[in-house]
């Protein structure tokens, strides 16, 4: 539309319903404060941690009184741990280990009455979630359960 000289703004509705202002000189700019949802395929990247490392600092200590013939196994907490599993060996530090406690949610575990005349070594694993399980920790020092006092010793 022409009239007196100067720039005259003309509204230009477009297919989306958004508004563009077009000057009579032909220059165009988008009006502020219009909102549309733009549907565009997108991609984004995330990264997961490694399987947890074996717990560290595993130790075994005779519980008092030693007549109880029980041992307390302790270890250092692992970040994001869900549960721990305790294993024992009765042959050697490098022998075959058997799971004796699962679903442990604290950083220590106390055995029941152990067999007299038996040596024990312990190892611990940690699980994050249900399926990410670490390797076993280093073995604890040997613990001996005697038939006579002292009933539990760590040589």
């Amino acid at each position: 539309m022409k009239g007196r000289r100067g720039t005259l703004l003309v509204a230009a509705p477009i297919a989306l319903g958004s508004l563009l202002l077009v000057s009579s000189t032909g220059a165009a700019w988008a009006a502020t404060n219009w909102t549309v949802t733009l549907h565009t395929a997108s991609s984004a990247e995330a990264h997961s941690q490694t399987v947890p490392s074996a717990p560290t600092g595993a130790t075994a200590a005779c519980n008092a009184p030693t007549t109880a013939r029980t041992i307390k196994v302790s270890w250092t907490a692992v970040t994001h741990a869900t549960t721990y599993t305790v294993y024992d060996s009765t042959t050697s530090a490098t022998g075959t280990y058997t799971s004796i406690a699962t679903g442990v949610t604290t950083t220590s575990w106390t055995s029941g009455t152990l067999n007299a005349g038996t040596n024990y070594w312990f190892e611990v694993t940690v699980s994050v979630g249900s399926n990410w399980t670490s390797a076993k920790s280093s073995a604890t020092a040997e613990s001996t359960i005697n038939t006579l006092s002292p009933f539990c010793v760590q040589p």
């Binding site: 509204a11 319903g17 563009l20 565009t40 984004a44 994001h80 990410w132």
Partner: protein, 212 residues
């Protein structure tokens, strides 16, 4: 033509111009008010709006390896997601919210950050159990960003804009062990809510998130 006739014609022309301008102004205000109301339109992927003088083009949101995420996912936990946003429009675009796929739409695992070789045993179909945090069983739920992100105009600073979305990826508690030490291509957003127009662009790289 007499001076009086010429003067009358000039007067009517000027008066007509004013009337037309006023009518245009009323129409403009009405249409402007309509356009200024927040409304949402869903478009097909890759489509753009056509105007008489300009087109509205889709943003491009892409996975990037850098900056690398430092807050990594673990079973039952959340982790960061890294994207880059490119704006092809000749004006800044401000993103205020994203729309997410369902919480059963899983990410695919890859062996490296290049996202080229899939991680065996950790695919979307496995399932990896890696999804967008706060996604639900309903597709397209909208989640408001803590801070609006403004991507600069095409050719201007801060375009593309790299963004780390804090804790916005979620990993299930029973995620397979094969998904450890894995890079994930997150499921596509179903949409974004963006406002165009003059705004100060966000400095790249940026950090943001949605928390609900």
């Amino acid at each position: 033509m007499s001076r009086a006739t010429h003067a009358n014609r000039s007067f009517r022309y000027t008066r007509r111009t004013k009337i037309v301008s006023a009518v245009c102004g009323i129409l403009l205000a009405g249409v402007g008010a309509y356009a200024a109301t927040n409304w949402v339109v869903g478009l097909n992927s890759g489509s753009s709006g056509e105007g008489q003088s300009a087109a509205i083009s889709n943003l491009t949101i892409s996975a990037v390896a850098s900056p690398s995420a430092t807050n990594l996912m673990y079973p039952g936990g959340n982790g960061d997601v890294v994207v880059t946003i490119s704006n092809p429009n000749p004006y800044p675009v401000t993103i205020t919210a994203v729309q997410l796929p369902t919480n059963a739409t899983y990410a695919t695992g890859y062996t490296t950050s290049a996202l080229t070789t899939q991680q065996a045993g950790c695919l979307a179909a496995t399932p990896s159990q890696v999804t967008w945090n706060f996604s639900t069983a309903t597709t397209g739920t909208s989640h408001t960003l803590t801070t609006a992100l403004t991507v600069g105009a095409s050719g201007q600073a801060n375009n593309p804009l790299a963004v780390t979305l804090t804790n916005d990826a979620s990993m299930g508690a029973t995620t397979p062990a094969a998904c450890a030490s894995t890079y994930f291509s997150m499921p596509s957003f179903t949409g974004v809510t963006a406002t165009g127009g003059a705004a100060t662009s966000t400095t790249t790289p940026a950090t943001d998130s949605w928390t609900s």
